[in-house]
Symmetry: C2
Subunit: 152 residues, 2 copies
DNA sequence: CCTTGACTTTGAGTTAACTCAAACCCATAT
DNA sequence: ATATGGGTTTGAGTTAACTCAAAGTCAAGG
């Protein structure tokens, strides 16, 4: 549980070093203390904070919201209620996300069961997938690229 | 259950018209049939397809994967196994996502409970939030903007 | 002394997925 | 006949969140 260099930290949390520095730049992470040579080091407190930030980011809590929370924290007790509400809102958001993912999982599992029972093979018009796929791709001999030509 | 115009469709599924046209352009949706005046209309089959695409997109299945599935479909029975595997992979991905969201929800709920019990207020150094927030923002009198200056 | 390798800063580039703007067409209501 | 409202295409712009490149510093090993 010693202090870590940025490389050690990025290995521990499996995160790009640039991302860590980026979070510091935009203010999600404090100005990190440096060794005599100017290199960053991360102590336990910092690691705990970063770990939390990454956990929430990983679940889709936006950088913007995280930064908002930091700002509120810094304003002290006057923002206790606001902060609590912010956290609750994020929970609500995540619960909604759970639900919509569950719907997709169920849908995909249903489809998979049709594959396993052979129904998809028997009944080519199930959900009209084949027909739709053909409609989509039939006049694509000129190999349309997946992405739009975005900028040249 | 009649055919819908693009406005009606976008209202029904609460999606931007541009997004629907974009999906058609990149090939997630077939070349949609037109009325005599050139306007798109969407029949039941098309609506079902779009509804599924949106459901999966909404849960984080990427446009790229969806397009891959369309391509496989169009190649017929030779790709049955590949398609089944693709669907299973997406389920795995979504299940992982569920788990990581659950971790975040638990973490946030724990924090919220500290707010509700007043512990956060009592113990300002809980998780060193205050201190960290101060470290982050203290020398920010020059009002650093949230986003990086990205391009001028 | 020189090289190597890990770090640094700054600004710019990338990616996915939209989202919009501009210029146009067409049918209907005033 | 003209204004309004809804659609159309094309190419370009936007957004969030990284991610990278270039050029530099520094300490340790040979």
């Amino acid at each position: 549980m010693a202090d870590l260099s940025i490389t050690e930290l990025s290995n521990k949390f499996n995160i790009n070093q640039n991302t860590i520095r980026y979070y510091e730049r935009i203010g999600l992470i404090p100005k990190v203390p440096r060794k005599s040579n100017g290199n960053r080091y991360y102590d336990n407190k910092m690691q705990a904070w970063i770990e939390m930030i990454l956990c929430l980011r990983h679940s889709g809590v936006s950088v913007e919201v995280l930064y908002e929370y930091v700002e509120l924290l810094q304003q002290g007790d006057a923002t206790l209620d606001t902060r609590e509400q912010l956290l609750k809102d994020q929970v609500d958001m995540l619960v909604e996300k759970q639900k919509s993912i569950q719907v997709s999982i169920d849908r995909l599992n249903h489809k998979i069961s049709l594959y396993e029972s052979g129904e998809i093979k028997q009944n080519k018009s199930y959900f009209d997938e084949y027909q739709i796929a053909n409609d989509i791709l039939k006049d694509n001999e000129m190999k349309r690229k997946f992405k739009e030509p975005n900028n040249y």
